[in-house]
């Protein structure tokens, strides 16, 4: 885990109201695994850091994909090249991508696309054939970038690709990785209990000390999303007890 002041290197738009910002963070870029996240801090700005999946890691840089949903994300999107942002990471346990099996399907809803480029990279490296299924509300909300082998597109309103959810559009595979609103992940759990899903919770610290990021488990009790997650076996999470109305989920 590293704590650095990361320089903003650029910003580009990838969907309606969705942007990628590039940060200079060599140690994080060198060590991050698919599904891990960074905790970004702004000063002046809100008190707490904000968690973001690492979208891509290229040489000394990491990328983060985001939408403005509140004060913190709006402020991040207002940063200009050369500004510094405090970056803590990589955090959390990412996807476990092992060789063995032949195919992987990556299922994302909205901003849930965030961990997928790195996941696709690692899955390919593990010799798996990768299929992406990316869904959003409508065509303009689909992330325009993909590093994957094949992309199946799904939209709720049918304005592009499959008319329906990305879960419904996804084929079966040996390895299923998913990220998106928690209610979408609950649907994944119904179909593939062994899928690995990256959940979202409010987070206070991102490092395991505040106990704020509780994930209710089927076996009872709670896990910490920031250290024991954010990636879980879909069948292990008590979806009914996990809030599905976080801001991010609300706007994704």
């Amino acid at each position: 885990m590293f704590l650095t002041d990361a320089r903003v290197e650029g910003r580009r738009q990838v969907a309606r109201a969705m942007w990628v910002i590039t940060l200079d963070a060599p140690e994080v870029a060198a060590t991050v695994k698919a599904g891990q996240f960074v905790n970004l801090g702004l000063n002046p700005g809100p008190l707490l850091r904000r968690p973001f999946s690492v979208y891509r890691a290229i040489e000394d840089r990491i990328e983060v994909i985001l939408q403005a949903v509140g004060a913190g994300t709006a402020q991040l999107l207002a940063l200009r090249e050369g500004d510094l942002v405090s970056c803590l990471g990589p955090l959390g346990r990412g996807f476990e991508i092992r060789s063995g099996g032949r195919s992987a399907v990556l299922i994302s809803g909205g901003l849930g696309v965030a961990p997928m480029p790195v996941a696709a990279r690692d899955a390919r490296a593990a010799g798996l054939q990768v299929t992406w299924v990316h869904g959003a509300r409508s065509a303009e909300d689909l992330c325009s970038e993909s590093d994957g082998d094949a992309v199946i597109v799904a939209t709720d309103d049918g304005s592009a690709g499959f008319a329906g959810t990305s879960v419904a559009a996804a084929p079966d595979a040996d390895l299923v990785l998913a990220c998106g609103p928690n209610r979408m992940l609950a649907a994944v759990a119904g179909r593939w209990p062994d899928a690995q899903v990256a959940v979202e919770t409010y987070m206070g610290c991102g490092t395991g000390v505040c106990l704020g990021c509780a994930v209710p488990l089927k076996r009872g009790g709670y896990d910490l999303a920031c250290t024991e997650g954010p990636v879980y076996r879909a069948g292990d999470v008590d979806w009914a007890a996990l809030p599905s109305h976080l801001h991010y989920a609300a706007t994704a």
Partner: protein, 304 residues
């Protein structure tokens, strides 16, 4: 110039005045990038005798310069603490106090007795912000008799230092501070979080599943400085200031207001190195002012 930062608090000699506040540092084994050299002491996450799952999510909500939490004292209970954590603490170069909790006076006494003598446990911080289940859920912390009873129950079961963590939700904190002093407390920590609430205006109910939560962070600092100061004016035992400390300047406000030491809580969530930054900043400030030791810092402590 090297400044003498040591402080003495109710039976313990600390190498520095900055401690980790309960519930914000886990059991000391989780904190990343930790600079141990700066820790005067650590107070563990609050535990009950028995394991507890804690409350359902959402457990935290951010507010201006603060955060609400309702963790519900999730924890492994005394046996797991003794087995998993205390042995590690025994090897550390600073004391670890256990923050103890109960729903009845006897709960507290029993927990202290169970932990007394366990290597690694250097003392107790008695959290009296819990509801007194025996007496209909009123808080131990805002009734001087109940606060004294809990303190006494712990005092009778241990020779280790007993600190009492005061709640701010009282009309007069001096009354509670004096009550626990008389009951044998070696120090008081002031203060715990303030009860607050935040509404989800789209869902028409509180953001936290528990409804209310405890407010911490810089938002409460001026309130905490005042309460710590009131406590320091009321008692002769040391007062440990807690609430909203992010930087050395903030800690110095508490120290000047009459506190002997301070605890850093929420700041660690934002800056894992907060405790070291606060410690080093106090030392640098004292050096700049020409003080050879923290003891020389002038205090503002008029007695009535």
């Amino acid at each position: 110039m090297s400044v003498d930062m040591t402080v003495r608090i109710g039976g313990l000699q600390l190498r520095g005045p900055v401690m980790a506040a309960s519930g914000t540092f886990g059991y000391g084994t989780e904190v990343p990038l930790l600079e141990r050299r700066a820790l005067g002491a650590m107070v563990s996450k609050g535990i009950f005798l028995k394991p507890r799952h804690g409350t359902a999510p959402p457990r935290i909500a951010e507010t201006p310069s603060g955060m609400l939490n309702a963790i519900g004292l999730q924890g492994p209970g005394a046996e797991a603490l003794i087995r998993d954590y205390a042995p590690q603490w025994a090897g550390w170069e600073f004391p670890v106090l256990v923050n103890i909790n109960g729903e009845s006076v006897s709960d507290y006494g029993e927990l202290a007795a169970r932990l007394d003598g366990v290597p690694g446990v250097a003392g107790f911080e008695v959290n009296i912000s819990c509801p007194n289940v025996e007496q209909g859920g009123m808080y131990f912390g805002n009734d001087p008799r109940a606060a004294a009873a809990v303190t006494e129950a712990v005092r009778r079961r241990t020779r280790l230092p007993v600190w009492v963590k005061l709640t701010p939700m009282v009309a007069d904190i001096g009354v509670i501070a004096r009550a626990v002093e008389s009951a044998g407390a070696d120090a008081v920590s002031a203060v715990n979080t303030f009860v607050g609430m935040s509404m989800d205006i789209n869902a028409y109910h509180p953001r936290l599943s528990f409804g209310t939560g405890g407010l911490s962070g810089p938002a409460i600092r001026p309130l905490a400085v005042h309460l710590a100061h009131q406590a320091a004016r009321a008692v002769d035992i040391p007062v440990i200031g807690v609430g909203g400390i992010m930087r050395a300047e903030d800690a110095l406000e508490f120290l000047i207001a009459g506190c002997t030491a301070v605890q850093v809580g929420t700041a660690t969530f934002v800056n894992p190195k907060a405790i070291a930054d606060v410690h080093d900043g106090i030392a640098a400030y004292l050096a700049t002012k020409g003080f050879a030791s923290l003891a020389e810092l002038p205090r503002y402590l008029p007695r009535d």
